[in-house]
Amino acid sequence: MCISGTSALRWSRVFATELATSRARKGRINIPIVDEVIAVNTTFRVNDTTHELSIDPRLTLLDALRDVLGLTGTKKGCDQGACGACTVIIEGQRVLSCLTLAAACEGQHVVTIEGLATGDELHPMQAAFLHCDGFQCGYCTPGQILSAVCAVQEVHAGVPSHVTPDVRNTVDSATLTDEEIRERMSGNLCRCAAYPNIVAAVRQVLANEARS
């Protein structure tokens, strides 16, 4: 049996890792660190920066981003896949970082809200959320924006949703209904109920892209 090429090195038994140290340093130990864990060496890219980590296998991508890499733009809402606040983009697909083990991200490229703007220039979806006032408290907003970016890409790809009248047909961004936008954004809850303005922001980006 061969588990990965460098199993002997990869599965070296180490004492609680730099993760524990980093958590302790920040005074933020929110999961128990056992005396001994088998750390996992994991390399993945976040917003075009490569990170080589030795991590507790229980660490989720969400906790890795926030507590190890200091990228706190990704939010922890329910931590059980129900709210969408932790949405990130992996290999071009929107996913939930709270249900993703960091160790399972080997070789993957993760985009978080911090990676969306180009310097000081906001991503069009960020600008649309500002322009349309697509938030109130703002806690769900990073997840909403990343989800919306992918939703627009999916519409451009023509793929159907649950409310598309006939799944055999492709959808068209110019004639997309609000019902379609709401369905496609249904994985992101907003307790402030900024939904009408979130729909408006998504529609604005679709309209601007259709014009350009």
Partner: protein, 329 residues
């Protein structure tokens, strides 16, 4: 979450082998069930073997079949143009479940192996024969509005949560597996899931370490006239109270053959074979569909809070068939 060892399998053969030497090991694919249930200590593997990136992510189309790799995501399958064209019921079922984020993560094999959403299964302080054999079932006399009325036993009334599987069960695929000793086999989908009976903890036909490698969907021209109807408490991101997957083969107004799968009301993806037999050769009218629905729900057993599901399921069946009747093929 309990501590575990994380292993990345380098190849499909290694994955099954890794399981063989670890009786407490589990496969990890999309993680939407496993990681979720590990967080609440319902699943406590001592070893997790990551099988997501072993090349099982292709959908191969031929005239005779569609071969779906085990690690194909739910989104990938639902959005595939040939799947949408040949099996609308399958795309519709998948797209009605969860959210895009979850469908982007969840794999086809993982969906087939999805665990129940029964709140007593998910609560380690509750009694649950499925989670802890012999401990009892708190759902029987508890809050059981979401629970099953078909395929139930005195030991378990948990609903199978999948939408995709309800469409799959009417399409008669074969589930192909690799066993730790290197041998392979294929299991008819309709025989894959088990009703709870006296052993609710035995949910599927797989042995420990047996890895689903792919699913073969045979060509079924009649499935172009098919539909999935899901009824639930809210319009999106919610499990079914009742759902129906239907395939209707028509000769004018006459039903050549029909297929009926039921979800949200049964302990496993439910195939209503007797209702299908009844429909064969009859006129495709709402009255006929209602009579078939009565047959499909014969033997349904309700508890205190879920009696409404029996009538709801019948109406769901009638509407699903009526919609399929109107599909342009």
């Amino acid at each position: 979450m309990k501590d575990f060892t994380f292993q990345r399998a380098a190849a499909v053969d290694d994955a099954a082998g890794a399981m063989a030497v670890h009786p407490g090991a589990m496969f990890l694919a999309g993680g939407t069930t496993l990681v979720d249930l590990m967080k609440v200590d319902v699943l406590t593997p001592d070893t997790v073997v990551d099988v997501r990136h072993l090349g099982m992510s292709n959908i191969d189309v031929s005239d005779d079949a569609i071969v779906v790799g085990a690690a194909v995501t739910n989104s990938q399958l639902a959005w595939h143009p040939v799947v949408r064209d040949r099996f609308p019921v399958l795309s519709e079922a998948i797209l009605s479940g969860a959210t895009t984020q979850i469908r982007n993560m969840a794999t086809v094999a993982g969906n087939i192996l999805q665990r129940t959403r029964c709140p007593y299964f998910r609560d380690v302080h509750a009694s649950c024969n499925r989670r802890q054999p012999g401990s009892g079932c708190d759902a029987l006399e508890g809050f059981n509005r979401g629970h099953a009325v078909l395929g139930v036993s005195e030991h378990c009334i948990a609903t199978h949560p999948s939408d995709m599987c309800v469409a799959m069960v009417v399409l008669d695929p074969e589930v192909h597996t690799l066993r730790p000793d290197g041998t392979t086999r294929s299991i008819p989908f309709v025989e894959f899931h088990r009703a709870p009976g006296d052993t609710p903890h035995v949910e599927v036909a797989l042995a420990h370490g047996e890895l689903i490698t792919h699913i073969v969907l045979p060509h079924l021209p009649a499935a172009r006239r098919s539909h999935y109807l899901k009824v639930r408490d809210r319009a999106s991101y919610e499990f079914a109270l009742a759902s129906a997957a239907v395939v209707l083969d028509l000769d004018g107004d006459t039903i050549r053959s029909a297929r009926l799968g039921l979800g949200g009301i049964a302990t496993k993806p439910w195939r209503a074979v007797e209702a299908e037999h009844f429909l064969t050769g009859r006129r495709a009218s709402d009255d006929t569909f209602r009579d078939a629905a009565e047959i499909a729900l014969t033997g349904a057993v309700a508890r205190e809070h879920n009696h409404f599901k029996i009538e709801l399921a019948k109406r769901t069946i009638v509407r699903a068939f009526a919609t399929a009747r109107g599909v342009n093929v």
